[in-house]
Structures are given as structure tokens and as C-alpha cells.
Assembly symmetry: C2
Homo-oligomer: 140 residues x 2
């Protein structure tokens, strides 16, 4: 059985569920920052996924990137699977702007942690979920 790691659950809002991944929004208002978590038990590395699931993961990363491109028109996307703190496989997909507060550094550890004001994270997660539901998000 898949269970979302408790630290990931605590740090994020639910956005939507794709064929492979749970999509979550980081509770960190400095950047539009999604996390994709393959909803399978005991996955730490991408090499733990079978080939079909790896292809699915890549296509769901692409969906997430397109949603961020459409909603936020970022200057650059950052995609990363690190897992040094939380070993459950999760892929960060982050919309960066050249005027964002950490540019050009990576976001991890760049700023003191902040959180969305009450209600804002859920509202943003709902707006992102609506973008995932639009047909364009699934285009090849």
C-alpha cells in the first residue's frame, strides 16, 4: 500500500491525482512549486520504477511543466529528484523567474522557510488542479 510520507504531507497541499503520481503544491509561497509522488509503495529511486512507470513519470513531469508554463510563464523550470531528506521518491517541478528571491541559485535551503497565508495555498492548489484538468495539459 502507498502512503504519502508524513513530512511531504505536512509541507504540501493536495492538487490532483494522475495515472502514476499524486501531485502536491509546496506550502512555500516564494515559488510555484509542485511535487510529484509516484503512488507506489517502497520507491526511493527512479530505478525502482519499471519501464512503463518511468515513461509515465516523465510524461507527468511534462504535464506539470506545461501547467506551470501556462499559469506562471516562468523564465526557467527546475526539475529534480533529490530525496536526501525524505527518501520516498518525489520529483520537484518548480517555476523560476530571473527576479525570484533565490535566482539563479537552486531553491532548496536558499531562503528561510515561509508558508502561504491561511486559505491561499488551498486556493492556489485548486487553480493548478483546474489547469491539470484542461485538455491541453495532456497533449503529446
Amino acid at each position: 500500500m502507498f502512503t504519502l510520507d508524513s513530512r511531504l504531507a505536512e509541507d504540501t497541499f493536495p492538487v490532483t491525482r494522475l495515472a502514476l503520481c499524486e501531485v502536491r503544491l509546496m506550502d512555500e509561497p516564494s515559488w510555484p512549486w509542485l511535487i510529484l509522488v509516484p503512488a507506489l509503495p517502497d520507491i526511493r529511486e527512479i530505478t525502482d520504477l519499471g519501464q512503463d512507470d518511468r515513461t509515465r513519470l516523465m510524461e507527468e513531469i511534462i504535464q506539470a511543466e506545461r501547467v506551470l508554463q501556462r499559469l506562471y510563464a516562468p523564465d526557467k523550470l527546475n526539475v529534480a529528484a533529490l530525496g536526501n531528506m525524505v527518501p520516498q521518491l518525489h520529483v520537484h517541478v518548480i517555476a523560476r523567474r530571473t527576479d525570484d528571491p533565490a535566482w539563479p541559485r537552486p531553491v532548496w535551503g536558499a531562503l528561510p522557510r515561509s508558508r502561504h497565508p491561511a486559505g491561499r495555498g488551498q486556493a492556489e492548489a485548486a487553480r493548478i488542479a483546474a489547469a491539470f484538468a484542461e485538455p491541453a495539459a495532456a497533449d503529446g
Copy 2:
């Protein structure tokens, strides 16, 4: 025509050429650190790749991960496409150990830049190239 970005060329040693990507070894002895560069012109984001090339990219990331797992037995792999400094799409695949000098932080900017002693980077790149050439590296 594809041309490797001059900063990537300057910072790395050539390892091997796969169907899609040039594989390079970072000239940074603190971590076993590969860079995969899709050998196509004008690619900044993974979304700039067609679906077949995205699937190829994922499988070549897996090959690189397996080579690092076999040679270095890392505690964790880090995979990332950032591109904030060098926009040409390149994917970092890094072998991490819980006793490495930046753990658990990401490697970028964690330490002052160091370089391999003369000849060591090329020798390590040759060892890694040999591991890519072994049949196990291409297994599904």
C-alpha cells in the same frame, strides 16, 4: 547543429555518447557527478523534446544511475535539470553518500569549487565509460 555549451565543456570530461545524450563527468572530485546533455540544437526545457526523446532521456538517466550504483554504491542518487546558469538542457545525475561533504544538502554551491588532480578526471571518465559499455547498463 548541436554544440555543447562552452561552460559545460570547460567544467566536464567526455565519458560516452548514448543514442540521445552526450555523457560528461563533472570536473569536481567531491562527488561522482555525471551530466547528460541531449545532443540536439536549441533545447532548454524537457518540454522542448518530443515524446520519443523524452522517453530516451529517461532511459539514459536510468543507465547513468545504474552505472553510478554499480561503481560507487551510493546511499542516494540525485537527479536534476536546473539550467539557471547554463540554459542548454543538461541533467545532473549525482551519487551521494551520507558521509559526503555536503550531505544532506544539494551539491550546487555547497562547497568551494575543486577540480580533479591532473589526469584523474580523464581516468575516472574512462572507468565510467567502460561501465556504460557493459551489457547490464542497458537492461530494462
